[in-house]
Symmetry: C2
Subunit: 402 residues, 2 copies
Amino acid sequence: MTITTANRAHTLSDRFASRTGVFNESIWTSIFQQFRKHSDPVYFGDGSPAPEVIPVARLREASVAAWADAPDSLKYGDQQGYAPLRELVSSRISQRGIEATADEILIAGGSTQALDIACRVFLEPGDAVIVESPTFLGALEIFSLFEVEVIPVTMDADGMRMDELESILLSHGNAKIIYTIPTFHNPTGITMSLERRQQLVALANEHNVAIFEDDPYGELQYSGEPIPPIRSLDEQVIHFGTFSKTIAPGVRTGFAIAPPEVMEKMLGIREVSDISNDRIMMRTLYHASLDFLNDHVAEARTLYRARRDVMLESLENEMPTGVTWSQPDGGFFVWVTVPESIDARDLFDRAAENGVIVFPGEWFYTNRDVHRNVRLSFSTVPEDRIRIGIERLGTTLREMLD
Amino acid sequence: MTITTANRAHTLSDRFASRTGVFNESIWTSIFQQFRKHSDPVYFGDGSPAPEVIPVARLREASVAAWADAPDSLKYGDQQGYAPLRELVSSRISQRGIEATADEILIAGGSTQALDIACRVFLEPGDAVIVESPTFLGALEIFSLFEVEVIPVTMDADGMRMDELESILLSHGNAKIIYTIPTFHNPTGITMSLERRQQLVALANEHNVAIFEDDPYGELQYSGEPIPPIRSLDEQVIHFGTFSKTIAPGVRTGFAIAPPEVMEKMLGIREVSDISNDRIMMRTLYHASLDFLNDHVAEARTLYRARRDVMLESLENEMPTGVTWSQPDGGFFVWVTVPESIDARDLFDRAAENGVIVFPGEWFYTNRDVHRNVRLSFSTVPEDRIRIGIERLGTTLREMLD
């Protein structure tokens, strides 16, 4: 007879680790609810590449070449990642000023897994992680798994404020990581200035704190001059990249660049906790990227640049006085700040009723206690739909300001 | 100017978490050294399926069907795993007496990742995990990441000893998990009796400890009557399965079956730490397995049964008096026990010189302090090579006993 829940005295949930108590309610529940409010909403929530530029045919062809490596590639192996793919990453990243050999690169299941593995190298409960405020929701969720203190640093138009960072470092000996998205920041679209990057490197070195440079959007620049990645200024920076934004998220492939002492431990944790990425997909990505990815990214930039321009132009035309927004040089996001009289949570709800779905800014703050912003993503929305969506957002804001 | 290691006052390794201190030296280093000792060694170390039965052509065909789902499958999604693949697992596992819906199944990057995720649900430093002694090396490595006490329980011919388990449970309130490989155990090949499984379920319930049933080899039975999986006796058991042994390890796909309260937390950790498996490979495995996997596993069983029989027959012919070995009804392994006068570490070294590479038994003990055994894997070795390898092992043992 099978034992069922009914005839049991205990529950296993009494034995769960305290880290399982930290999950916020999933944001997807709220988003799904908003989709029910309008028959044809414009969705500005997507952090994915445009479906039109996902290179399906190229990937499908590359998969044939990848399978040609089987059955050898169907055994255990490639723990650090398929070597030719690491060479390719090494070569591509050098175009942006980062000198890293294939040995300094770990291929992982998205930059998300790479970040989780790096956190396992450094973090214990009670440690602190310093983040930009606001910052990427997914990173906050990873840090919460480690039961660490997450300390926000204010941003201005040049990125993370260094005076504030310095005073936090002086007062928090438990700080082990500074997590930053310096280039086309999520959610604000801001890029950290070169001077700030230099200051950041100096402060991190002085206090022996690791810099985690998250760089999912760095290749997607539409205007302005490129600013060197922080990793190009200091070889001890741990740099995270991904194929999710340049190729597709469903391939679940990203990477970390780390100095040898950190790489050794990351590789140890990777081998123990899940061995390797799917070996066929690593080969598929290699064959798909070779002699292709530069041109592909250039084409994607053209599409995204046009969408960004339409979004900024529509905001200019449609936003009531008192509303401001960022002017991103790249990436997927525009960050909108509303007048003090408006609560962005109400805007989130009422905009959805009017047919436009945004992300409320609170999701990107450590305590979810700032209600002045919404994040707009333009990457997956065609130009005419961007115009309609921003018009609807303007209408909603005017209704709320009346 | 890039900052280099030379001009730095600190090292980041001072800031590593204590869990990074727990890695044993990689066993692969020792194995590679053994390969250098002989021009044509027989390798009995492989825990992989035979290359001859990895269904490469079927997988390659299935990948075409998988890519037909793109580009939809190239976005984020399938966090719990591709639903048709979970339905397929649900249906296959019911053949072995486990009733579990697709909602109770999580697809992960091998059963290794599923086990790591489940550990993250339960374990904090200072907790205890109870294991069979000896047990799977990879599981010991995962537990070490969580800085828990690992408590070994002696095995006999019927599996884990229940009298010993009970006294450990009585004296260790910090025990949260009993980890067992009840069917064709790695490394011993032993199968836990039904009576023991029932006692185990009763004890775990009484003490509110989770049972982790690791079942990589359950489908690979060559003789004897099947014994129901522990999960079929208690729906609160967390059961781990994999495609690594029935299809191929390089596809990095396994699964966990867990009750709803555990599944909710596993899914939360999975979404936060690496989002999902590669979505194309999940579809490839689905299409490859449909109307195929039963026949494929039957064919593989025929090959492995013949290899097991040749290994057992060769041991009978070649082993000197005083050497004993297990008689597995399935799986990949035979566990050899040598006379007290022999140290299995020396056997490991000297056998390699004579052209046969085995795994020393110490690797499967929590403290690596038992030196009486070697593990022989027959899965990847052709019959004539098995005969040669066992002959070389016999020669080595006779040399050492002289």
